[in-house]
Amino acid sequence: MAEAKWMSVAQVKEQIRESSAEEVTASYLEVIGKSKLNGYVAVSEKAVEQAKEIDSKGHKGPLAGVPIAIKDNISVKGMQNCCGSKILEGYVPPFNAHVIEKLQAAGAVILGKTNMDEFAMGSSTETSHYGPTLNPWDLERVPGGSSGGSAAVVAGGEAPFALGSDTGGSVRCPAAFCGIVGLKPTYGSISRYGVVAYANSLEQVGPLANNVSDIAALMDVIGGYDNRDSTSIDRKIAYQEALKDDIKGLKIGIPKEFFGEGINPDVEKAVWDSIHRCEDLGASWEEVSMPNIPYALASYYIIAMSEASSNLARFDGTRYGYREKGENWHSMISKTRAEGFGVEAKRRIFLGTYALSAGYHDKYYLKALKVRTLVKQDFDKALSKADVLMAPTMPNPAFKIGEKIEDPLTLYLSDVNTCPINLAGVPSISVPCGFTDGLPIGLQVIGKPFDEASILQAAYAFEQNTDHHTRRPPEVA
């Protein structure tokens, strides 16, 4: 059979019909075996077996035999779920996340678990206990993060698509840096059951793929209500039906606050070129003002860290994962957490604890919540005038490994365009829209809550009329 690398899901399915799910899975495993990217932290030993079973049963599911990579913070029964952290060393969940149940019912074959920033805290996948993942476009650069492993393996041809999670840009940032498509769905549209929480009120599982159609195909499988997640919303969205190559009459809002100081001129140009391309295709655009966006980053970090400080309290060495010996329980938990968490996780736990502490709670946490409301109102207002908003996903292309890791503030600043979306809970998709010095640039298309249809349609039409998504990274070709 032909090498499965970089095939679309439709092509993979065709290939399975011609040969078998087993052969397709084996072909991916071969590519993975030769990988230089450090995208996977664990490869499934059961993948071939599962593919065989799909073949023998003649599975009719929408993703029958299609391989997929899963971020290492999404629980797959019987496989490690370490969230890029030493503290979860050896932890194997005894249950499946909701999205995994859905994928398995649809016939998907899980290839393995992908690398990530520790507990999804980062934009470069450098904070992982398993070492950094490399960007397939330039092996000296970061793939973005925190779902850097998932993005790199898709861009590197090691999986047709993957699942990541997006708390403040963790799907869109690596999608932009790796030249692929990534979606942060509306908060509540996918169950978070089984996804290890970093910041519950902000995050959603999100798909990463080589094209918009594959994103929609995946969303039709994993989206939908789940009674085990109280924040999940019972609302039917037809994702694939939205894929129409037509944006005539589409009203695009351009929030100027997303083109702020420090933006790379090539990025700015590529995004404006894309907006003009949409105009050529029959869409119209106008600038919209979102005055509270400059405060979003600070609000986002306070809320995320506060929630994280509580979410990560359960990792105490008592029940599972890594444990240090101590003379008593207090010293055991202190040593375990001191050794088990990396620098960035500790920094965020400290800061979050501080922000929630008596005397600071109102000044930081409560104020951040107020800003969050204002940011939401900005989106409501902007999206009442426009069908979708367009903006750069990342202000800059992928940076060098080690370049920003010693300077957390600069690293945090790279989330400036992605985290407002999480504060508002709205959907946003990042699609490839150009290159600078051989590095991909991402265009972010933002929509109204539960109106994934509009952003998928816009992204699909843009993709159909451009060829950025067809370029492949030379390093791994």
């Binding site: 249950f95 910041a199 085990r228 400080s309 929630l356």
Partner: protein
């Protein structure tokens, strides 16, 4: 009479009640019926706090909380809101407890108790829902334990924490409040107070309007009364010696009956409360009318009805309604045809007294029999049946057995190994009231055989009559009615 409260005692209580009558835990589907189960068998990813597991609020918990709120005549919040209370402890699998903070489900309620000077109202500041942590089991004693085992069966059990106003003026009032409170909750059928850890209490107390001290984690009503008596004495002594009461948390050592300082206000923990992002508010205002309709008759109302309907005394009515199972049993006995006033006497005075004497607590009533729980060894023991009580009351009112024999029958029912009806017991033990001629014969014999006693009595020694009555009872093997025997003796001797 107005109670002066000479020491200016103010007591407030915080009571944790486990809603152990619900079928499932607060945020997951695990069964609450774990009390006889092996450790860690009633757990799942949610109540073990495994990474990625999410809570889903059990509606029945909210309904039970609303029921409690309505019974306490409180205001019910329009929607649920939960916060995280963050602290580290090995029995707390997520490193935080899910509780309610500034928007409790119930606020501003009240309970009327029998106070030092008659009816006394105790305000309820709030009642809120929260989940229970697991349980630490020490290997050996706490001091010498080499290790600690954790049982998460209890983790995620639904609790209601009720906070009263500092309206109680004595340890006795605190105990009475607790008795009444527990009684109300049992009427609502949301809680079984006999299960281990079902009710845990903290008491706040101050004297002379001074600084309050909190005594934490007391497990019984009796314990609260004892802890408060000690603590009030301690505070008075400190003040008498010119010292000052510091705001602190103390622990009650039940065995020694003393309170011991744990931590002062400066060491108080910062729980970093914030809204639980995994739970969405649940609107409950529409549920309230429906829940109101299902509210059962509460103790005070039942007590008034018993007096009215059955013509019994207030004392009897109060005693019979002090436990829902007992009240239902009493009504069962009345409905089955027993004379209500007689039934009240035999149940409230005799049966209840015999149960107390045996450390038995009424733990169940199934429409036919009450089951008892042994407070000493926590075993479930013999029960009394409705039919038994009906039969017993009939035997007595028909004059077939004496009151002494009736007490004997009740004791046999409670202590007997086999289930027997009162008639069977009476027959077996020969307790039927003697025929009149049998008693007449015994009276004649007693007079004939006890010359000295007869002379003493006739000489004015009233006590000697008691001796003669005793002789008659002995000759009739207790089947004679003592009052009748006495009357017959007097008639015979004094004409």
């Amino acid at each position: 009479m107005v109670y002066e409260n000479p020491d200016g005692v103010k007591i407030g209580l915080e009571i944790h009640v486990q809603l152990n009558k619900l079928n499932t835990k607060m945020f997951c589907g695990c069964s609450t019926d774990y009390h006889d189960a092996e450790p860690n068998t009633h757990t799942c990813p949610v109540c073990l706090g495994l990474p990625g597991a999410l809570p889903v609020l059990n509606r029945e918990v909210v309904k039970a909380a609303i029921k409690v709120g309505l019974a306490l005549e409180g205001e019910i919040a329009e929607e649920t809101q939960f916060h995280r209370k963050n602290y580290f402890y090995p029995d707390l699998p997520r490193g935080f407890q899910t509780t309610q903070y500034d928007y409790p489900i119930v606020s501003n309620g009240k309970v009327v108790i029998e106070g030092e000077d008659g009816e006394h109202e105790v305000g309820i500041w709030r009642a809120h829902m929260e989940d229970d942590p697991g349980k630490l089991v020490h290997i050996g004693s706490i001091e010498k334990s080499k290790g600690v085992l954790i049982d998460y069966n209890r983790s995620g059990m639904p609790l209601i924490e009720t906070v009263t106003a500092p309206d109680m003026r004595s340890p006795k009032e605190a105990r009475r409040f607790l008795d009444k409170f527990r009684n109300i909750l049992e009427y609502l059928d949301v809680f079984d107070g006999n299960l281990e850890g079902a009710m845990r209490m903290d008491a706040n107390v101050s004297v002379y309007g001074g600084t309050r001290v909190e005594v934490k984690n007391i497990s019984s009503h009796k314990g609260v009364e004892k802890a408060l008596l000690y603590e009030i004495m301690r505070q008075k002594n400190v003040i008498r010696r010119g010292g000052e009461i510091t705001q602190e948390t103390r622990h009650f050592d039940e065995a020694r009956g003393v309170t011991i300082g744990m931590r002062t206000k400066e060491e108080a923990e910062d729980y970093r409360y914030f809204r639980e992002p995994d739970l969405m508010p649940m609107r409950v205002s529409d549920w309230i009318p429906g829940i109101k309709e299902t509210l059962p008759e509460l103790p005070d109302a039942k007590r008034a009805r018993f007096i009215e309907q059955y013509g019994i005394t207030d004392m009897h009515a109060k005693s019979l309604t002090s436990k829902i199972m007992l009240a239902d049993f009493y009504e069962g006995v009345c409905k089955a045809g027993a004379d209500p006033k007689q039934a009240a006497t035999w149940i409230a005075d005799v049966l209840l007294g015999e149960l107390n004497y045996r450390d038995l607590v009424i733990a169940s009533y199934d429409g036919n029999a009450i089951g008892c729980f042994n407070d000493k060894d926590h075993s479930i023991t013999n029960s009394a049946r409705v039919t038994d009580m009906v039969e017993l009351v009939a035997l007595f009112t028909d004059g077939k057995i004496s009151d002494r024999a009736a007490v004997e029958v009740i004791r046999s029912i409670l202590d007997g190994e086999e289930e027997k009806t009162p008639t069977e017991i009476v027959e077996e033990k020969g307790l039927f009231k003697a025929e009149d001629d049998l008693v007449t014969k015994a009276v004649s014999e007693a007079i004939a055989e006890n010359e000295a006693a007869v002379q003493d009595y006739l000489g004015g020694a009233e006590k000697s009559l008691n001796f003669l009555v005793g002789q008659v009872m002995k000759k009739t093997k207790g089947t004679a009615d003592a009052k009748t025997a006495r009357e017959m003796l007097v008639k015979e001797l004094k004409g």
